[in-house]
Structure formats: C-alpha cells, structure tokens
C-alpha cells in the first residue's frame, strides 16, 4: 500500500455504484477505484441471492471475507487435491461394483451472522436453501500478499455467462441503458465482454480435456446462456449433505420441514442424548 494513495481530504459514506441484476439475485459493488478503497487496498460487494438461487462457481485474485447479513445457505469450496469426502452410497446390486451416485468436496452450511473466509484462487459457490433472501457483504483484500496481480479486483467464473461486478464501465453502461430505456438483456448479448473462463479456450481443447461431446463443451462455455452470475435452480439442488439428507428422510416419514432453529435445537438434543448414553460420558467408538 502506497502512502500517497491515502492522502485525501475527507471521507464519505458510499452507496454501491454498480448493480447487476441476475436471474436469481442481485450484485451490487462499490467502485474499487474510489480513493478510500484504493487507500485501504480493498474492494466491497453486496450480493443478494433469492431462495433457490445459485451463485455460480468462481474464484477471485484476492482473499475474501464474507459476512452473512441475512438468510442462510450452503457453501461449496474446491481446494485442489483435497478428497471428495461427501459421497452418496452406491445403489448398484449387492456385490456389483458400480460408480457412486455422486461425490464432491465438503459442503458448509452458513447462516446470518457468520463470517466466511475464502482464500485467493479457491473456487467456491453458494446456494440459498432458505426461504428468504440471502444477503452477504464481501470484502476482497486486493492488497493482500496472496494477490500478485495488480490491485484491481478480478472474479474468474467457471460457468455461465456472467457480467463483471467490478467493471467501472458496467456502471456507465447501466446508466446509459437506464436513460435509453433499452432492454438490458440485449446489451448483455451485444457487449459480449465477460464470459466464464472456458469461453476463452478453444472448444476442441474442452472436448479433449473432459472427453465430452461438442454440445457439452459449448454448454460448459456458456454459449447462449443469459442467466448471468446468479441462476435459479430447477427444482431443488440435490446435494449430498448431512442436513439436507436428514431433512429429506424426515419428509419421507411425513414430518413437516424444520426451521433452521428447530434443526439446530434437535441436533443439540441428539448430541446431549448421545452423551448421556455413553457410559464414560464420552462418545463410543
């Protein structure tokens, strides 16, 4: 951080400058070029995800701290080399070796008041599995030693056809668009500046790398996808997750779905019951 970047006369309370409306949510960001943010070496984003909305997998060039303002959700992170420890059991016939239904890396449930830390370059996605909006505020520490690029915040999407939440021109486009009263989706398609990272690769490379057909490769590249950064999930997101699985089991048994608080209270009671059952006051092996 250079000292001369912090030489300004007054401070201001700032409202977001850029607003991106997606299929299932809203992304608002503060202009990272503002002298206050330049001084602190940070960028700030507020994200609102509608129920059943999925913020597409992405990673950033700087470490992030995310505060959950409202709602609850599921976070999936991808650390390269870590095992896929959330695994659905095999459904094949007994004794027959078959591939598991699905396996993926650990998922984490979060809720209002939580702080979530995401290292630079680690891909993650978030899903609103609650019944109200999921609102979060994210700080990107662009001056962190982990970021070896310049101080411009960058988000690399792994899917979809997203817009750049930190692009100052985005705001100008937006304002211009509002003045002109034109259809926003038309501008999205015509600007064509922001895509997921697969879009920049040759389609043949993607076919080869994943051993998939050309149609799948084009879908990976997000061609003809106008849902933007936050998409609406069809049905519910079917994940291998302890809480969701137990919730589904209870639904199958005809019980109503628990609220978050009820779920937590029940888990606590189950833990206490297990504790009491154990002869040594500890969990059995």
């Amino acid at each position: 951080r250079r000292q001369n970047e912090c030489q300004f006369d007054n401070l201001q309370a700032l409202e977001p400058d850029t607003r991106i409306q997606a299929e299932a949510g809203l992304i608002e960001s503060w202009n990272p070029d503002h002298e206050q943010f330049q001084c602190a070496g940070v960028a700030v984003v507020r994200r609102t995800i509608e129920p059943n909305g999925l913020h597409l997998p992405s990673y950033t060039n700087a470490p992030q701290l995310i505060y959950i303002v409202r709602g609850r959700g599921i976070l999936g992170t991808v650390f390269p080399g870590c095992a896929e420890t959330f695994e659905e059991s095999q459904r094949g016939a007994q004794g027959r070796r078959s591939r598991p239904e699905d396996r993926h890396q650990k998922l984490r449930h979060f809720r209002e008041g939580d702080i979530v830390a995401i290292p630079a370059g680690v891909a993650y996605w978030t899903y609103n599995n609650g019944d109200q909006q999921l609102v979060s505020v994210t700080l990107l520490d662009t001056s962190n030693v982990e970021n070896q690029l310049d101080q411009n915040p960058r988000r690399f999407y792994l899917a979809g056809n997203p817009e750049d939440e930190f692009d100052p021109e985005q705001q100008q486009h937006q304002q211009y668009q509002e003045q002109q009263g034109r259809d926003r989706s038309r501008r999205q398609r015509s600007s064509g500046n922001k895509h997921n990272i697969f879009r920049g690769l040759n389609t043949r490379f993607i076919e080869e790398a994943f051993n998939v057909d050309s149609e799948t490769a084009r879908r990976i590249q997000g061609q003809n996808d106008n849902r933007n950064n936050i998409i609406k999930v069809k049905g519910r997101l079917d994940l291998v997750s302890p809480l969701i699985r137990s919730s589904q089991e209870r639904q199958r048994e005809g019980e109503r779905e628990e609220t978050w608080e009820e779920e937590r209270e029940r888990e606590q009671q189950e833990r206490e019951r297990d504790w009491r059952r154990s002869p040594r006051g500890d969990y059995n092996n």
Partner: protein, 185 residues
Amino acid sequence: GLKETFCAMRLKENIGDPSRADIFTPQAGRISTVNSFNLPILRHLRLSAERGVLYNNGIYTPHWNMNAHSVLYVLRGQARIQVVDHFGQAFFDGEVRQGQVLTVPQHHAVVKQAISEGFEWVSFKTNDNAWVSPLAGRTSVIRALPEAVLMNAFQISRDQAQKLKYNREETFLLSSSRSSQRRAA
C-alpha cells in the same frame, strides 16, 4: 547463524532427469517440480520452478496457478498455448517456440498443446510453493463440484454431468484427433 543457515545450504536440484518426474503420463508427457520442500533455500527466495515435457500432440489440460505468476521459457519444440483472463477472453492464443518467454499471470487459465516436435519448457513461479488448480482430471475443480451444481450451472443432464466429472483422469493427455502419432515415452 548466517554460517549455519546459508553457507552450507543446498543450492541446486536437478529437474531435467525424467526419472525424477512428479507427474508422468507415458503417452503425453511429464512435469518435475522444485519448490521449498525439496530445495529449502527457495523459501527465502519465494520462488519455485517446474520443468515440463509434452510429447507430440500431448495436451496439458486447462489449469490455473493459484498463488504465483508463471514465467515460461521454451527449451525445445513448439506449442499452441491459450491464456484466458477473467473476462473469459483468450488474451494469448498463439504458438510459442524455442527461446521465447511467455508470462502466465496468476489465476489466469492456461492450456498447452505440443505441436510437431513436441514441447519442452521450464516455468519460473513467483511462490516457493506454487499451487496449480486443474480444471479437468482427477484432482480438478469440476470433479469436486456436486453433480447438481454442474447440471444447473452448465444446463446439462445428469448423464452429461457424470461424464464431465469422470470421463477424464489425466493431467496430460494425447489429442485424440491425431492419436496415430503417439510417441513412446
């Protein structure tokens, strides 16, 4: 402590020897890495390096450097390289040949394919324990995502999502379009 710390410190590690490879696919190529774990002085320098060999038509599948820039020097042969920025645009898409240097910035996706005589390179990385995050293969980000996320994110069927996750294991592979030109390891 200077004497004990630096004077007798090991300063070299050979990464040219094929038997020393850290990643190896007989049909497509190999990579050897030197970092602060196998050459501790690199912890002070905060640098590391990798030596790569791709056989003719071999592809080093797309990946990104998580915590370092990578400055690539071409030792032998030619390759087509694509580097993609956060706009999803290939801001390098071209061929590199012996003696040239290409910088791949941190977090930018990169894919390499050897052409004609194969491709050999050395990459200098600006972190003593540089991490690579593969986009395809056994340890890839795609493999670690739930099928349901892939289905919704890419608008594909469950069957397509399963193929996407499990159809490819390797980091290095031979292009299927010209597999007849396979070279022995």
